[in-house]
């Protein structure tokens, strides 16, 4: 019984995720106006702390930030717009 309920919970959670995913594909993936207005600095402050301390823009050169931007996109699965804005900010 215990095992069954665990399986049911897993199934329900997984199915809800698939539904959210399907809806997002059907409606096309667009950022709301509020999100589109965000600056690179704001996205940097919000996103980089999710996994580690927020890196200082002075730690790397513009060329290096370009490379790290791609690398972090593979870890954090940032949207392309987020990565572009954050890298632009870090390069300054």
């Amino acid at each position: 019984m215990k095992k069954l309920s665990l399986k049911n919970i897993s199934a329900i959670i997984s199915i809800s995720f698939c539904i959210i995913f399907a809806i997002s594909i059907i409606y096309g993936c667009k950022a709301s106006q509020k999100v589109s207005m965000k600056t690179g600095a704001q996205l940097w402050a919000e996103n980089c702390q999710r996994c580690h301390n927020t890196p200082s823009p002075s730690s790397f050169s513009p060329e290096q930030w370009e490379t790290i931007g791609l690398h972090m996109q593979t870890r954090a699965l940032l949207t392309d717009t987020e990565r572009e804005k954050i890298v632009e900010f870090l390069k300054q």
Binding site: I13, I20, S32, V35, T67, T79
Partner: protein, 406 residues
């Protein structure tokens, strides 16, 4: 870089020279010294000839090192034995892993991380990513599988707030050879992301345990691992994810060749500044189910069976007063509770948990000094009839640890 500086200083000198000459020129209306003009022409030519190129190479990575002092008490049938030890590097406390990153233009990135650690020299990952279109990254190589988030995102020594890894979590999300697609997409004020890999898959060993990362597949069946993540809030503070890994694990031609392994994982990450404290909560729950088949007892090669069901879970919280001033803003307090239950009636079954607490001092955003204390308790559930039962084990360990992003 040097060339750039020379060009720059050359340019500045030329301008200074012109400025110094200016009053003279006005007075006498003579032509500028031709050597200055020649020099300017020469510099202009050099600038035009200098190509920036489109690729970039850099070295990053990490190093962790430390000291561990432990005391273990094992009690079987009422009699106890105590062992004490201390060591500089131990399993969780030494790693030197320079990572190489190559970027070709804006769409290709290769990453290779060799690692010198307690297993000798090994490779953490080696793969090439192609940023195909917005929202789609295609990757191939030796990949960290997207089962949960700990292995891929939280395990690095300078990222993990505690000196140890939570038991059993990373083992179920190994590194494997194959291909992968992933991406992050906006969804109104939320975000979603996906990550799916197709790889050789794990291999079931005769005793019912699993091994991973075979460069040649042990069967012709590939394993699929996938994760869907959702960041519901526009400030990206919360991410929740579900993952699954499905594939046959038995050796081709063996009587266990159709044995399936199914692994599920649920993960949560919440990071929010509640002034003046940065709150950080991370959690993951893994469930691994392998079909019940006949296994072989390594002690005497007889066959036996058990429900091959394993779970691991951790929840970790940490607090750092980032808005405080002075010394205190670099201090972080962390705690974690971990459960790792391996199959009962096997030769290795055990119900285990740990409480871990730690105090960290951040020397910079990417260098940390940690003091971690861990209390472990393991209650053997291994088969008594097979003589595998090991009783109750408790271990208390103090770690002193340093980690840095290279």
């Amino acid at each position: 870089m040097r060339q750039k500086i020379i060009i720059k200083t050359g340019g500045v000198l030329a301008i200074l020279q012109l400025l110094l000459l200016a009053p003279k020129l006005q007075a006498q209306q003579t032509v500028v010294d031709s050597s200055v003009l020649d020099r300017i022409n020469e510099l202009e030519k050099q600038m035009a000839a200098k190509k920036t190129g489109e690729d970039h190479f850099m070295v990053a990575g990490l190093a962790t090192m430390g000291f561990a002092s432990y005391k273990t008490t094992n009690t079987v049938n009422g009699s106890s034995t105590v062992t004490k030890g201390n060591s500089f590097p131990d399993a969780d406390n030494f790693e030197f892993s320079p990572m190489l990153l190559w970027r070709h233009g804006k769409k290709l990135l290769a990453e290779f991380e060799p690692s010198f650690n307690n297993n000798g020299v090994s490779v953490n990952w080696a793969d090439v990513s192609w940023f195909a279109t917005p929202g789609l990254i295609v990757r191939a190589g030796y990949l960290v599988l997207p089962l949960g988030t700990y292995s891929k995102r939280e395990a690095a020594g300078w990222i993990d707030k505690l000196a140890t890894d939570p038991m059993g979590i990373a083992d179920m999300a190994p590194t494997d050879y194959g291909v992968e697609i992933e991406g992050g997409l906006p969804l109104g004020s939320s975000k979603i992301n996906y990550d799916v890999a197709l790889t050789n898959g794990n291999q079931l060993l005769p005793d019912g345990t699993i091994t991973s990362g075979n460069i040649v597949d042990n069967n012709n069946n590939k394993t699929i691992t996938g994760r869907l993540g959702l960041l519901p809030f526009s400030n990206s503070s919360l991410e929740v994810g579900v993952s699954g890994m499905f594939g046959k694990v038995g050796d081709q031609g063996a009587n266990i060749q159709n044995t399936m392994a199914k692994v599920y994982a649920f993960d949560l990450n919440y990071v929010k500044l509640l002034k003046p404290i940065l709150i950080n909560i991370k959690s993951q729950y893994n469930i691994q189910d392998i079909d019940k088949v006949d296994y072989i007892n390594p002690a005497d090669s007889s066959t036996y069976s058990f429900n091959n069901h394993t779970i691991s879970f951790f929840v970790q919280g940490s607090l750092r007063p980032v808005n405080a001033s002075g010394f205190i803003k670099n201090v972080e307090l962390a705690g974690r509770y971990t459960i790792f239950n391996t199959p009962a009636n096997s030769t290795f079954g055990s119900n285990q948990h740990t409480f871990t607490i730690g105090l960290d001092y951040w020397l910079s955003w990417r260098a940390v000094f940690k003091i971690t204390y861990e209390a472990y308790k393991g209650n053997s559930t291994a088969s008594k009839t097979l003589g595998a039962y090991t009783g109750l084990t408790t271990t208390n360990t103090l770690f002193v640890h340093f980690a840095i992003q290279l």
